[in-house]
Symmetry: C2
Subunit: 426 residues, 2 copies
């Protein structure tokens, strides 16, 4: 008998029929003798509906009040799922985040969990209940309702699993696991059986949407065994089969043999801005990027070329949707540094990242990457690296070709050769 936390996202509870399916799946685990805590999101579309309603009232809704409104989505789902379990003859009790005292800071719409009072949940589990908790929400120390931001239900689930020392946290979703890269781009992308949590973190920060990044941080901090798996299978499939499905996030140190590269991530939503021939003096980066930051535009990659005659070329990337705004800011705030060449911008670039904890102990990943792209005649426009990642910028039109070539060159299409291998998703 184990203590299992299961999380179901908005698509998995998107209709009353689907909620009944979730109830069947949960009942199966409970009947097999497990204690089950279920965390659910709002029915798909509901959070957007509530936010739209709020925006009809106030263009930028007051954050405290937006949380009061938005948190009702999950509250509806918990009640409905409890009913569905009771209709199956199981004991079940639902709780909002505040009711089980998921204590957060008071950063409305993006609160962080500080503490969870597991006492009430334990008591209900001992009495044979499935305990259903609303994801995405909690309350601050004054009892104000808070929400954790988009995707926050993942964090609720992992945090509950950590607080209750659950044996496993199962994140049910509409994909069947985490892939070496996006199967829509590389047809022989492989689902990974295991993946290291640092790799997931790196990929999530690059825009992957499989898990909310804070849930992965939580999982890493408290070493919560977390598995991503499909909610679209037959709810009655045997538990032994379900237990082995999806992708498990692991926390072992990479002492055993590992492949170099685990997965390849990419993003099309990038744009590059270059200020050619600016004076290479201290503080120039701050002068340019400070005004961009003040306008609430996030900068991703930054490259300053080698200086020549006291002048340099300064390039950085922003989200494509922020490009026009960024160019206006530069024209207004940084005009003294703009030379006759003006400001150059390129809205048609893509970022490709190669990720793997194996890179830590092996040099040469970047070199191999550049060689592969050179063989395909793809020009690299910018490069950044971290301990377990190399990211490059290329022309958008070469993106798919580059991803496929890299996926093949790093052997990601081949079968796993050892249990210790871990690979990464899009």
């Amino acid at each position: 008998m184990a203590l299992i936390v299961q999380k179901y996202g908005g698509t998995s509870v998107g209709s009353t029929e689907r909620i009944k399916n979730v109830a069947r799946r949960v009942a199966k685990w409970q009947k097999a003798g497990h204690d089950v805590i279920v965390v659910v999101s709002a029915m798909s579309g509901e959070t957007n509906r509530l936010i739209a309603l709020a925006q009809e009232i106030q263009k930028n809704p007051d954050p405290r009040e937006l949380d009061v409104v938005a948190s009702t989505g999950e509250q509806v789902t918990i009640g409905l799922l409890a009913m569905a379990l009771k209709a199956l003859g199981r004991k079940a009790k639902s709780y909002t985040g505040p009711q089980v005292r998921i204590l957060t800071d008071n950063a409305f719409t993006k609160a962080r969990i500080k503490e969870i009072d597991a006492h009430r949940i334990r008591e209900d589990l001992e009495n044979g209940n499935v305990v259903i908790v609303a994801g995405f929400q909690g309350c601050d120390s004054e009892g104000n309702i808070t929400t954790l931001g988009r995707g926050g239900s993942d964090t609720s689930a992992v945090a509950l699993a950590a607080a209750l020392k659950a044996d496993e946290c199962l994140i049910f979703t509409d994909v069947d696991g985490i892939y070496t890269t996006d199967p829509r781009v590389v047809s022989n992308a492989r689902k990974m059986d295991k993946v290291a949590f640092e790799e997931i973190l790196e990929m999530a920060s690059l825009g992957s949407k499989v898990l909310q990044i804070r849930s992965v941080e939580f999982a890493g901090k408290y070493k919560v065994p977390t598995r991503v798996l499909s909610s679209l299978t037959d709810p009655d499939i045997p538990i032994e089969e379900e237990e082995e499905s999806g992708t498990l996030i692991t926390f072992e140190d990479s002492k055993m043999e590992r492949v170099l590269v685990s997965g390849i991530a990419f993003s099309r939503n990038e744009a590059k801005i270059t200020l050619p021939h600016v004076p290479d003096v201290p503080g120039i980066a701050y002068k340019i990027l400070g005004s961009i930051a003040e306008a609430n535009i996030e900068v991703d990659m930054i490259v300053q070329n080698a200086s020549k005659d006291g002048m340099t070329d300064f390039s950085f990337t922003v989200a494509r949707s922020d490009l026009d705004k960024a160019l206006k800011v530069i024209e207004k705030e940084v005009s003294p540094y703009i030379q006759e060449g003006g400001v150059l911008s390129d809205p048609s670039i893509a970022k490709i990242s190669v990720v793997g904890v194996g890179m830590r102990s092996h040099a040469g990943v970047a070199a191999k990457m550049f060689k592969v792209l050179a063989e395909e005649n793809i020009n690299i426009k910018m490069i950044t690296t971290s301990e377990i990642r190399v990211s490059i910028i290329v022309d958008e039109k070469y993106m798919e070709l580059a991803v496929r070539a890299l996926h093949k060159a790093f052997g990601l299409d081949k079968e796993t050769r050892s249990m210790e291998q871990s690979r990464l998703m899009h």
Copy 2:
């Protein structure tokens, strides 16, 4: 400066436009220097939508979980109204019932308020906030969410006014006050400026829908000055004018001169059942009505005719929608008492009630009522009386004629002659 509780029902907050209008009205009162607490219902249609969703999952939804789901309707409204007030530059804070500790018993879906912690609300008022509280809901001593039953927001408002010793409780609704009878039946029905709370109680128990009966009991118990008025006027009408509009519920003893009759209520949803010629022995009423009660059918009027040869005719009324069910119960459970004549039933009757606290000290209201109906050739089928009410059953087809004749005979169409006069609604 006064402390005012204002309650707005589902129609008054039925769209984001209407919520903005409510905000303008509330802001007007606050700007004039008053402390304002606002209690709101769910947007019209929302509670029904949520209940339908629950019924898709479970035909008879689990009461605890139904309250978890249904209470979200009001929670959405409080957040939206707070935003609308902030958009007008006012300070505002919204609270769910549990957050301000509206403590109830644990009778889910029909809980009763036991206690309210006014401390947090007072603090917010002192800091210049409009305080917005979700109607219809609270929590039990274990923190489980409870709801007060249909129309419960009225009770929330009056209970908050009592707990905070508010100067007045304004119940904003889609009618402009309480009438001597239904204006759709009697075109010169008059809106009353004042009405005694016992009269409202009597009328509410007869099926009037202007106020939830428990809110009137609360108002009576704690002598909360309560006014029913329209939310459909221009939100910016002068406060002095708004303060004098609608109908005020009063608690004075009727020491001063009063008119006999204040108002006339009626209901079409009645049916009569007669068991002719049953043995007139002790316990016969219990034997018949006990089985009806066990089937959860509510009995309204009961008449047992004078005994003759040890036999009697036994009649009672039920809601028309319960008639078939009641007849089946009688056939099954009471068959030994049914004589050859069988069971008689009449689905085409109506109940008319004449109400007034003045009846207490003046006899003759019933006599006058019978005389008026006799003059119109209307046959009376059953009669019951209370201290301040006389109710009769007539053929449904005579109902409107009877109501008009009584309205005129008791002078309800005439202008109020003294401040102490109070009249009653449909």
